[in-house]
Every structure is written in C-alpha cells, then in structure tokens.
C-alpha cells in the first residue's frame, strides 16, 4: 500500500494538476493504513474541503441505500437532526481533523527525538493530550469565525457555517476536550507540557485568531503556534526544554512560511474581501522573500542539528536533497510568483515535513532504550525512572538527567 501512495505522490509533483490530485483524493477515502494516513495529513484546506465533501458524499450515499431519500431541500433544520448519527464526523470537523493530525504528528516526533527514555504510556498520553488541546483550539476558532469563514470558499463548508451544529456544541466540545487534554498532559505527562499546551491554546484562539484581521504579523505568530507542539512532545519526554528541542521547534516555525505563504498566494481575492491581513495581500514581495528565506533557514537548521546532538551526520547529508529541492521551489516561486509555482511549493511542503521528521527519527543520535544510553546512565534510570511511584513524580525528575546527559555528551562535539 505504501508503495502505491509513494508513486502517487511522485505523479502529483511531476504533473501537478487537478486530474492527479483527484486520484489522491480517491485514495484517501476509506483507506486507513498508516502510510496513507501520513500522506493524507495536511493543513491544506483545499484537501480538507475535498475530502470532507467526499466523505459526506460517501455517508449520504450510504444513507440513500437505507432510506432511499436524499436531502436536497433549500431549508434544513439547524442544528441538523442527523447530528446524533454523525457525532464522530462532526467532532472531526470541529477539531479540523487533518490539522490536528499534523499537530499530533509533530508532537510525537518531538517526543521520539528527545534523548530521555521512551515510555509508551507517557508517549500515548502526550500525543492524545496534545491532540485534544488542538481539537479544542480549532473548535473555539470556528465558534469565533462563523461570518468570516462563510466568506471564503476555503472555509465555507465548516460545520457551524452550514448550521449543522450550534455554537454551544462547539464550545461544549472545546470545554470537554481542553479539560481532558490538559489534565492528561498535567497528570499523565508533566506540568511543563500542560503549561505549553494551555499557553498555545490561548495564543491560537485569543491572539492569533483576531490578529488575522489586525496585523500582517499574524503569520509570524501563527508560526510560533505551529512550533509549540513539537516542544510539547520534547518536554513531555524530558521534562525540560533545551537546545535540541529548539531544533525541532525552529524547523516547524520556519516550515510554516513556505507552506502558508504558498497556500495564501492563490487566495488573495478571498482574503482581501474577508478582511484578512495576510502577507500575500498586504506585501506580496515580502511574502515571497520570507518563503524563500525560511527554506534557507530550514537547510541551515538541518545541518546544525548534528552539532546540537539531535541527529547524526547522516541526517545532514540525507536531508540536503530534500531541502535543496524545497529551496529551488521557493526560488521558483520567488522569481515567477505565479499560481503554478506557488502550488508546487505548497504541495512539496506537505511531503517535505513528514519526510524530514522521518529522516530525523531514523538518524536520531541517542536511542534512549539502546545499549549506549543504558550503559551511560544505568544507575540513574534505575533510581528514578522505574520505582513504583506515581507517574507524575517519576516523570518530573528527568530534567536533571537530561542536563547531565548533555554535559556527558558535550565534550565529544
């Protein structure tokens, strides 16, 4: 299955048009193997809309088989009478499932890359907690944005805009997910991770969301929001943040620019009318420059990650072709500034990030459960980690160990 998907992705890149993207949409429906899930994850609203309508079609045709009626009326009940049957689907729409998946993926990568021992339960709680907080953030965002979302073709099919649910549902969902998510992070992982999650929830819903209509700075702030989930993963594993954590955070921060600037490039008419002060509209030249600049920064960070002891030498080498091609596409976008080049850049950004994180994992410097690590810290891990104390306590003291490790490791580089 994974091979099929890879071939599809290559096709996408080469001929880059709607015909092939439809193919990948087709593939996306109803297949849930892990490689497909990864390939499917995107913050692309374009994809999201397509696949949502696709899934709606699927369910409605399934309903048709049962009831033999299709709802083509102009006026429909609001909130939808079908809401009890579609709870799962609506919750996914409220949480912006694809975006949340990406957030969870980066947070999992952060956890896996951190040098402390890998604990499956903490890892799972960290991932689920991050996902729930992200779902809450997206739900609150949709509560605030109804009339704005209605203005743009990218967002006009969201649940609240279509009146499938009421604002109270969105807020109720957000209250439930944020409470569960933050308690999972606080009690199951550690207070630092929970604090990062709560901070990011606030930043996204209360600062970034209104700022989109106030200042061009919104994209930079949005990038900070995107950079925090990997830090949550890292903090969830080690209990602290250090230089290594910053590598992943900085990578995510920089990645947002080529990704989002390329996406927003073709939405300029909609943004202008709906009042969003996106860089693509207010300063198009800056938009292209920033995208190009940050692909350079990404290349630099990947090379530097070796020196910060996150990855080995091979990562610097292996990531180079990916990053150089990314830079080439950004350069192309910078020079031509047309919709074709921006679309190519956007599509590649969706492949680039998962590929880069996979390479980082493969080339991770310290495998916590591996022999090297156990040899290094045999007594300490036994002392603290595995006693039958409550989880929170067993997680907390990991900070000093990590710093100790860093000290041990630092002379070698």
């Amino acid at each position: 299955m994974s091979y099929i998907k890879v071939i599809q992705c290559k096709l996408c890149l080469k001929s880059s048009t709607a015909a092939i993207s439809k193919k990948s949409v087709l593939l996306k429906i109803g297949k849930d193997t892990i490689p497909n899930q990864i390939a499917r994850i995107s913050t692309s609203p374009d994809w999201r809309n397509k696949s949502l309508t696709a899934s709606i079609k699927v369910t409605s045709s399934a309903k048709k088989d049962k009831n033999a009626v299709q709802d083509t009326r102009d006026w429909k009940e609001t909130p939808s009478l079908e809401r009890h049957n579609n709870v799962g689907q609506y919750c996914m729409m409220l949480s912006k499932f694809r975006l949340t998946s990406l957030v969870v993926m980066t947070s999992m990568a952060g956890y896996a890359l951190a040098p402390a021992p890998f604990e499956l339960t903490t890892f799972a709680m960290c991932a689920v907690g991050t996902g729930l907080v992200s779902a809450a953030a997206n739900s609150i965002n949709q509560y605030h944005e109804v009339p704005f979302d209605a203005q743009m073709s990218r967002t006009k099919n969201r649940v609240l805009v279509k009146g499938l649910l009421e604002p109270t549902h969105a807020i109720g969902f957000a209250a439930a997910t944020s409470a569960t998510g933050l308690s999972l992070l606080y009690f199951g992982v550690n207070p630092l991770t929970a604090a990062l999650g709560a901070g990011n929830l606030f930043l996204y819903t209360s600062v970034y969301t209104p700022m989109k209509r106030m200042s061009i700075l919104n994209t930079w702030l949005g990038s900070v929001v995107g950079a925090i989930p990997p830090l949550m993963g890292w903090a969830g594993c080690t209990g602290s943040l250090d230089a290594g954590a910053l590598v992943l955070g900085a990578l995510l921060y920089s990645w947002q620019f080529p990704h989002f600037n390329a996406l927003s490039w073709n939405l300029r008419p909609d943004y202008s009318r709906a009042g969003y002060r996106m860089m693509a509209v207010t300063d198009p030249a800056l938009c292209r420059r920033v995208a190009l600049r940050h692909t350079g920064v990404i290349t630099g960070i990947c090379l530097a990650s070796t020196y910060l002891d996150v990855t080995n030498m091979w990562f610097a080498l292996e990531s180079l072709p990916l990053n150089i091609y990314f830079m080439y596409l950004a350069w192309d976008f910078y020079r031509k500034s047309d919709s074709a080049s921006s679309r190519r850049l956007f599509r590649f950004s969706l492949l680039h990030l998962p590929a880069l994180m996979l390479l980082m994992l493969v080339n991770k410097k310290y495998w916590s459960s591996s022999e090297t690590h156990d040899q290094k810290e045999p007594s300490k891990t036994q002392d603290i980690g595995k006693l039958s104390e409550p989880k929170r306590i067993s997680v907390l003291p990991r900070g000093p160990i990590v710093t100790a490790q860093e000290k041990d490791a630092s002379p070698s580089c």
Binding site: R73, D74, P147, T168, R268, P269, T282
Partner: protein, 160 residues
C-alpha cells in the same frame, strides 16, 4: 478549483441578476413559517453576504428567556447580513471600477499581480471598519453564547 475562480469572478451586474434569480427561486422553495416549524431552519448562502439565513422557530409556549434569545439572534443575524452585504457589494463595485480604469484595450483580465494592488488597497481601506466589526461581533457572539447556555441549563434542570 480555487485557482480557476480568480479569473471568473462574477461581475457585479451578473451577480445581482444571480441574486434575483436565487431569491425568486427560494421564494418558490417556500421560506418556512416560524410558527409552524419545530426546529430552526437554515437556508442556502446569500449570494452577496455569503451568510446562510436562519428562520427561528417561534413556538407558542416560548419562555421569556427564549423569546429574548430568539429576538437577539435575529437582530444579530440581520446586523451581520447588512455588514457583509454592504462590504461585499463595495468590493465588487470597486473591483469593477479598478478593472475599468486599468484594463488596456482588448484585454479581458488583469494579471494576478496587477490585481493584487487592488486587493491590498481594499484591505487597507477597510481596516478600521473590520476591526470595529470584529470587536462588536465577538461581543455579540459572546452574549448569545451566555444566553443560550442559560436556556440549556434551565431546560436541563427542569427535566431533572
């Protein structure tokens, strides 16, 4: 899909006829009677304001609070609709004027780069009005949320 649309934005005149067609069409489809429906009904998006109109049910045994909530919702819905109708018509009108001023002989469309000058100017011009609208909307939306939570809570307690 989105990318194609840039070139084929409906012009204001055609938009207005489209609106007329749609309103007559929706009249044919019968706007629900608020006294007869058992749940709120939502219609198709308005061609200019892009908002979907909701007809609020008006049951005979409506409580005071529910009545207040319904009235406020209806009021805010109209306020939203007015803002976006005005704003969007202004957008299309000014866009048309910009095209007229800048379109060379024998060309149908300006390039995306040439259009971006207009998009930026329009955004800048409406900055204050957007901020004011945004603030007011957040406030109104929050009031609605509180009212609706209050109603839900009362219903829940009465049932139990």
């Amino acid at each position: 899909m989105l990318f194609v649309q840039i070139a084929v934005w409906p012009k204001l005149s055609s938009l207005i006829t489209l609106r007329q067609i749609q309103t007559t069409a929706s009249k044919c489809a019968e706007i629900p009677n608020p006294k007869k429906i058992t749940s709120d009904m939502i219609g198709p998006p308005d061609p200019v304001s892009n908002l979907r109109k909701i007809i609020f049910k008006q049951p005979s045994n409506e409580t005071q609070l529910e009545k207040q909530y319904r009235k406020l919702r209806s009021e805010i819905q109209n306020w939203n609709h007015d803002f976006w109708t005005q704003h969007n018509s202004r957008f299309f009108q000014e866009r048309e004027e910009y095209l007229k001023r800048n379109l060379p002989e024998g060309k149908q469309n300006l390039t995306a780069d040439e259009m971006s000058v207009f998009y930026k100017a329009f955004l800048d011009k409406n900055w204050t009005s957007h901020i004011a609208y945004n603030k007011e909307w957040y406030r109104k939306n929050f009031t609605l949320l509180l009212l609706s939570l209050q109603i839900k809570l009362r219903k829940l307690l009465r049932i139990k």
